[in-house]
């Protein structure tokens, strides 16, 4: 019986890991290119989830259009904050951007609670029966979720490694001054970056909203997990973020068979301390020691 539980937890962990890899990717890209941990990531996800709730309940739009709208609007939100805030802070210490990102997180979340209140919402999807293999259950909805996440991740890798724009982004991540000196338009790279970030946060938020319930703290409570996974994978490494997130969420799902789900954040915290103690550069990254 224990094997069945383990298998189910592993499957669940992989699905959650894949969909949370989207915001983790957003965190690691900003960390690598704009050089600060973006604490607004979680609340961008919340915004995406609530957009779908609003699109479905207020405008009665079908789910697919709602999802597209959520991705687009979250991308716009992210671009707005780049244009208003982060653009002005590019030349200041990353600390300034970090503190401001917390302010953005508070502003986004409080705007949501002002209109939507503190109550829970669900994003309803057609119910489908799970496939049952001797107790090991696979829900087709999960497969769709995982499929969407994998597609988005593959597209990112194509963007980063196969297009001139991706090459420019990697150049800025490597050395912003050098990139600027070689004629790369850093501002344009940043706009692409924040558009992608918003898009992924929105998509990730919707998917997690489908899988769980939509709450004002939806994204904020995932923030530590995202940071921890990014550090585990190696800051600035997109592949690392995905691996880190998968390792994290599978081990978290398995651990919660024994310690209970409310200890998830605690688990993430101690795993993070362990990583920092033993291998601060993460699985695929370089050390970002004091410079």
């Amino acid at each position: 019986m224990i094997w069945v539980d383990l298998a189910n937890a592993t499957i669940n962990g992989i699905v959650i890991g894949l969909l949370l890899a989207l915001p983790a990717l957003a965190v690691t890209l900003v960390f690598g290119i704009a050089r600060f941990p973006n604490a607004a990531t979680g609340d961008f996800m919340t915004f995406g989830a609530y957009t779908v709730v609003a699109a479905k309940s207020l405008l009665a739009l079908p789910l697919a259009i709602g999802v597209a709208m959520a991705c687009a609007l979250t991308a716009l939100l992210s671009l707005f904050f780049y244009w208003w805030v982060f653009r002005a802070l590019v030349r200041r210490s990353p600390v300034a951007s970090l503190i401001v990102s917390i302010g953005i997180a508070l502003v986004v979340r409080s705007t949501i609670t002002f209109f939507a209140g503190q109550s829970q919402y669900t994003i309803e999807v057609p119910l489908v029966r799970a496939w049952n293999f001797d107790g090991v259950r696979i829900v087709p909805t999960d497969l769709y979720i995982a499929g969407v996440a994998v597609t988005a991740l593959v597209l990112t890798f194509c963007l980063l490694h196969l297009t001139p724009l991706g090459r420019r982004m990697r150049a800025v991540a490597d050395n912003m001054e050098l990139a600027r000196a070689s004629g790369i338009n850093v501002g344009r790279v940043m706009i692409t970056l924040f558009a992608i970030v918003g898009f992924y946060c929105g998509l990730g938020g919707v998917l997690i909203g489908i899988k769980a319930v939509v709450l004002p703290e939806l994204g904020w409570e995932l923030l530590l997990l995202l940071f921890a996974a990014v550090i585990l994978g190696g800051i600035g490494s997109p592949l690392g973020a995905i691996i880190g997130m998968l390792v994290f969420s599978v081990s978290q799902e398995i651990a919660s068979l024994w310690v209970g789900a409310s200890y998830k954040i605690v688990f993430a915290f101690f795993l993070l301390l362990g990583v920092l103690l033993l291998r601060p550069q993460g699985i695929l990254g370089k050390v970002r020691a004091v410079r």
Partner: protein, 297 residues
């Protein structure tokens, strides 16, 4: 009315303790502590639990502060040899971990029920209202002592190394200073001050529960020092006064704008805190009085 004024003054003085702690960490050393509320909670619960087991209040409050300082030690050791972002992330996780621990470990903390009936500091011999005044006097004295100690600390060789770490860590290292160790000590002292504020708060309102120690409180303290500029005692006091004025004043918002629900009021307050954080960093990084060149990046 007198009671109200003294209550406000007590809140200000409790928050100045926390703000001083954070100012030592951020303003003077450049450390980003996003887990202020975790240390406040440890101070409050540490002192609260001790006092319920018969430890006198004058002993349990410093013990709570010391616990908060000690809790900062492992966080500092693990993160401070790395870049500054790590401390921000780890302290954020730490404060959430503390809150979940408080909720879940009911045998120690009574979980979500909270711990009512903590002893007040002077009630035994002064009664309720004059007890408040005595507490006020005590808090003024504690604040003055802390300010004097801080000033001494900042002007001492230790304080000069902290400033060097903040302004150019590589240079401080090149001079042979073990910067990680200095940063850890600054983190511990600052966190102990946050814990001290939390312990005083616990014995002032006589009730502690996990819902008091949410991340928003961390950013209350951040706002106080950002507005004040984080590097001067005057700035800390004025920043805290503005913060408490805002928190108290926003209660009356509902009288002005009718038809606004409790949740919406909380959202507005939350929104303004976020906006203030964004706008001070963007437009007034030195605070209302700070000098631009000092410690404001």
């Amino acid at each position: 009315m007198e009671l109200y004024v003294s209550a406000i003054a007590i809140w200000v003085l409790i928050y100045t303790l926390m703000a001083t702690g954070l100012a030592l960490q951020y303003g003077f050393t450049g450390l980003i502590n996003f887990g202020v509320v975790g240390f406040v909670a440890i101070g409050a619960y540490g002192s609260g639990i001790l006092s319920q087991h018969g430890v006198p209040v004058w002993l349990s409050i410093p013990a709570g502060a010391a616990l908060a300082g000690l809790a900062a030690y492992p966080l500092g050791r693990v993160t401070l040899r790395l870049g500054g972002d790590y401390l921000a992330i780890v302290t954020l996780g730490f404060s959430e971990t503390v809150r979940i621990f408080i909720i879940k470990e009911e045998w120690l903390t009574r979980g979500t029920h909270g711990m009512p009936g903590l002893p007040r500091i002077f009630e035994d011999w002064a009664g309720r209202s004059s007890g408040d005044l005595t507490l006020l006097v005590l808090l003024v004295a504690v604040n003055v002592v802390i300010f004097l100690l801080m000033r001494g600390l900042i002007r001492s060789p230790f304080g000069r190394i902290l400033a060097a770490v903040r302004d150019n860590e590589v240079a401080a290292k090149a001079l042979g200073k073990d910067t990680a160790s200095f940063k850890t000590r600054a983190l511990m002292i600052g966190s102990a001050l946050c814990g001290l504020g939390g312990a005083f708060q616990a014995h002032y309102i006589t009730f502690i529960g996990p819902e008091q120690y949410v991340p928003l409180m961390t950013f209350y303290v951040w706002i106080a020092i950002m507005i004040g500029g984080a590097v001067s005692i005057r700035g800390i006091v004025v920043g805290t006064v503005i913060l408490i004025g805002f928190l108290e004043g926003s209660r009356f918002l509902r009288d002005v704008f009718g038809g606004i629900s409790e949740v919406q009021l909380a959202s507005v307050r939350f929104w303004l805190i976020g906006m203030a954080l964004i706008c001070t960093v963007l437009y007034r990084p030195q605070g209302l009085f700070g000098e631009r060149t000092k410690g404001t990046n």
